[in-house]
């Protein structure tokens, strides 16, 4: 009888541990999250991706629609190519859409801002594997300061 009680208590202990694990994974690390569900891949070429990382969010008007799945360097012209997994629920972006690398707050994480373009009769909808042509690179703070100092000198 005591051994049964011990088994019940050990079972409770182990399930508590697993419950804590699940809570950490889901509530604290938010695994899965936007990752579940069907996605399709879009690509874009930038001059400079700044601090963009794999799993950085892709946002449209602040709403997360996908995540960066990989970042590679195009060996022919040495410019970074960013692949994004976009949620299949948002598959109506026209090819005139533009992508820019933005920063959350002054020092925050960088993310991709997707600006949907206009839709016209002869404008196609972006499909899986398509390239977004209109991209704006990350603002690199050092370059901005450099330009600013340079323009100060010219003014004198």
């Amino acid at each position: 009888m005591t051994s049964k009680r011990i088994e019940i208590l050990v079972g409770a202990f182990v399930s508590l541990g697993i419950a804590a694990m699940v809570m950490l994974a889901l509530q604290v690390a938010d695994a899965g999250g936007a990752g579940n569900g069907e996605t399709y891949i879009l690509k874009a070429k930038f001059d400079n991706i700044g601090g963009l990382k794999v799993r950085s969010p892709v946002k449209v008007g602040g709403v997360v629609v996908g995540r960066v799945s990989s970042i590679e360097l195009d060996p022919s012209d040495f410019s970074p190519v960013v692949s994004m997994e976009i949620n299949q629920a948002y598959n109506q972006f026209p090819e005139t859409s533009s992508l820019s690398i933005l920063t959350a707050g002054l020092l925050g994480e960088q993310y991709l801002g997707l600006q949907p373009g206009f839709i016209d009769e002869d404008i196609e909808i972006l499909a899986a594997g398509d390239m977004i042509e209109d991209t704006k690179s990350a603002l690199v703070l050092e370059e901005l300061i450099g330009q600013f100092l340079f323009s100060l000198k010219e003014d004198k």
Binding site: S3, I6, E7, L9, V10, A12, F13, V14, L16, G17, I18, A20, M21, M23, L24, A25, Q27, V28, A29, D30, A31, G33, E109
Partner: protein
């Protein structure tokens, strides 16, 4: 001068010898053909002794450490208007460091010392020799289930510690001090990766191996007198605490250093 070298030499040989004896003990305990039906109840009993009975101290200290982290973090972060970063502060410090390390220290004090004392007393009262007389290998009957129980229980305890600590930080930060509920969780979720949880788990598994191994060896190798057992118990706590802190630095350097 010569006697100094002799002393150093004798000490080194002694230490090397105990490392060797500890390794043979572990190999003797673990290398055997598995007998799940016979050893499962023993393992259950030990998980109960080592894990379940440590639950209360782990939960209570986890809660209080989380609450203190929340309070301390808030008073500093609010100066910079960054109190919404309290979530990642609490979660990352618990998952990466405090969870495994503090649980390891508590585990060494609560369960490790008990293991050493129990086995030392078994040795003193010649229960181990009696087992051998009955052709039962004490390494497999006594040491092995305790070792596995420690290795299974400690990661679970560390996970529970971190989870409870985050809840404690949430209670103080959000419910008491008024950090925004949504940003507490969402900034935490943005900052914490699965890798952090995974690394904390690896740390706690390593600490579990170290602590239970030291505790079992100290008990098994103790001088079977009341003084010997008391010294063995002290050594267990001291050595495993030092080992935890040392290994923590090494593991942190490997995981986050590069």
């Amino acid at each position: 001068m010569i006697s100094f070298f002799q002393k150093v030499g004798a000490n080194s040989l002694d230490n090397l010898g105990s490392v060797g004896r500890a390794t043979f003990m572990l190999i003797g305990a673990l290398v055997s053909k598995p007998t799940p039906i016979k050893s499962f109840p023993l393992l259950m009993k030990q998980i109960y002794m080592v894990g379940f009975l440590s639950l209360i101290i782990v939960v209570v200290s986890g809660l209080f450490i989380g609450m203190v982290l929340g309070l301390q973090g808030y008073t500093i972060l609010v100066d910079f208007g960054a109190e919404s970063s309290l979530g990642p502060l609490v979660a990352l410090s618990l998952l990466r460091e405090l969870g495994p390390v503090v649980t390891g220290l508590l585990f060494a004090g609560r369960a490790g010392s008990a293991l050493t004392a129990e086995i030392g007393l078994m040795k003193a009262t010649e229960q181990l020799s009696s087992l051998e007389m009955m052709a039962i290998d004490p390494l497999k009957r006594i040491i092995a289930p305790r070792f596995w129980a420690g290795v299974i229980s400690m990661p679970l305890l560390a996970t529970i510690f971190s989870a409870v600590g985050i809840i404690g930080g949430y209670l103080v930060g959000v419910k008491w001090l008024g950090v925004d509920d949504g940003s507490f969780w969402s900034i935490m979720q943005a900052a914490v990766d699965l890798e952090d949880i995974w690394n904390g788990l690896i740390k706690s598994i390593v600490f579990a191996l170290v602590v239970t191994w030291i505790a079992l060896y100290k008990g098994y190798d103790s001088i079977p007198t009341s003084e010997g057992i008391s010294r063995a118990t002290t050594e267990t706590v001291v050595h495993s605490s030092l080992a935890i802190l040392g290994f923590d630095f090494v593991l942190t350097a490997i995981m986050f250093g590069a």
